[in-house]
């Protein structure tokens, strides 16, 4: 019994991420614009994001569940204004771990690394640069790698400026 409760709770804990819709949006039954509308969501409506498929994200909105345009979502509680509120790193990390299946970033606050100060004081590192060159790929190796991943080159035009 306890295991069943745990199994029910895990998806809720791991996959639901608080978000808001940035504009009035239709909640669709399937991830397509011609799919039936399940509910109408008002601007800034709070939802729980569950998964993404192409340009669509499956969300729970109250008792309703369906798909909204991925680009209409902003994450974090009260995310409509743009950035999430301060101090939510721990929460984000939890979701990150769940989504990636890897360990995620364990330490993010107050750590050393690439900051403005270090960029200003940086000295050349020829040994690392030699390694960088050694790891480089070439066009034919990259094409083979793409084909292994079933990636096919497409003709896509740049947008007009």
């Amino acid at each position: 019994m306890r295991l069943i409760i745990l199994l029910i709770l895990i998806p809720l804990i791991c996959w639901a991420e608080p978000a808001t819709v940035i504009r009035a949006t239709e909640l669709k039954q399937d991830p397509a614009s011609d799919s039936p509308t399940v509910a109408a969501l008002a601007e800034n409506a709070a939802v729980e994001a569950i998964e993404r498929k192409g340009g669509w994200t499956r969300v729970k909105a109250g008792s309703a569940e369906g798909w909204v345009r991925m680009l209409a979502l902003r994450y974090g509680a009260g995310a409509g204004a743009g950035a999430a509120k301060p101090g939510d790193t721990g929460i984000t990390q939890l979701f990150s771990v769940a989504r990636t299946g890897t360990s995620g970033t364990q330490v993010t606050t107050g750590v050393r690394g690439l900051d403005a100060q270090q960029l200003a004081n940086a000295q050349p590192n020829p040994a690392e640069f030699a390694k960088l060159q050694e790891f480089a790929s070439d066009r034919s190796a990259a094409a083979g790698f793409a084909s292994n991943g079933a990636l096919a080159a497409k003709q896509v035009e740049y947008p007009k400026p």
Partner: protein, 278 residues
């Protein structure tokens, strides 16, 4: 006129103060004119761009070394090289590196060097997201965004004809200044319009390479969910438009391209197996 310039040049050489005035002639202005003529004849060509980029890349590696994982580095190079092959400068000496740094960031260096931090890579879910970020950086190189900023900065904030001297003599003090300036630029950031252009064209390059075009927007959503107060993203937020604004712009300008290429591979499994800690 040429004689006047010559006289002015001699006068300046004779007077280190350069405050010397001939009757009714501003010597300083003439000296500046001579210098500007010199600059105009020394454009940064592609070999210069590549050489500057190598020096800047070496500095960045002095700030943070590569992650000590040859398999990971080669993987990221394959993804990046495949993307670069889809655009207008396919034969630059493209090279890609994952930097050992917990911060979330990525850097495009003139001439074809792209860096991404371990911190950013660890927040990604699949290869399409990696491709989206690398394609954004590739656009900075294609459009010479950083190179132009370096050139502009060298002309306004470095002394006199430092740029031509820096291009001529790779071991000189002017070169050192130029490269230090070029490296610090990653702490100052580019124009907002350059970043938004890199987003739009980056989406196209990822789509051309056959990836789910939503890779870059997905990463922007991950970033948007993070706090601007978090030191892991502080520098990146300072040097880029807010992720929410970047998403708004993509939604406004690129929805069609995104949707036309949203069913392409994301390669989540290949990404996980190639990026897991060994």
């Amino acid at each position: 006129m040429r004689l006047l310039l010559l006289l002015a040049g001699l006068a300046a050489a004779a007077s280190a103060q350069a405050q010397f005035r001939l009757p009714s002639i501003d010597v300083n202005r003439l000296v500046d004119t001579v210098k500007n003529v010199g600059k105009a004849t020394r454009e940064i060509d592609e070999p210069d761009e590549i050489a500057i980029g190598r020096d800047v890349a070496s500095r960045l590696l002095g700030a943070a070394p590569l992650v000590a994982d040859p398999g990971l580095q080669r993987y990221v190079n394959h993804v990046g090289r495949w993307l670069a092959a889809q655009a207008e400068r396919p034969d630059l000496p493209w090279q890609f590196g994952v930097l050992e740094a917990p911060q979330l960031n990525a850097f495009a260096v003139p001439g074809g060097t792209i860096f991404i931090t371990r911190g950013l890579l660890e927040r990604m879910r699949n290869e399409a997201e990696l491709a989206g970020v690398l394609a954004h950086e590739i656009v900075h190189v294609l459009r010479k965004h950083h190179l132009k900023a370096i050139q502009k900065g060298a002309q306004t904030s470095l002394a006199g004809d430092a740029l031509s001297a820096a291009l001529k003599d790779r071991a000189g003090a002017a070169r050192d200044k130029l490269i230090a300036f070029g490296t610090e630029m990653y702490a100052r950031g580019l124009d907002k319009s350059d970043e938004l252009e890199a987003d739009r064209l980056g989406v196209v390059i990822a789509a051309r390479a056959g990836y789910d075009a939503y890779g870059l927007p997905s990463v922007l959503q991950t970033l948007q969910a993070m706090s601007a107060q978090d030191s892991a993203v502080a520098l990146m937020f300072k040097t880029h438009p807010a992720p929410g604004e970047r998403l708004d712009t993509l939604s406004e300008k690129m929805q069609q391209v995104l949707d036309a290429h949203s069913a392409q591979p994301q390669l989540g499994e290949r990404f996980s197996s190639q990026t897991k800690r060994r």
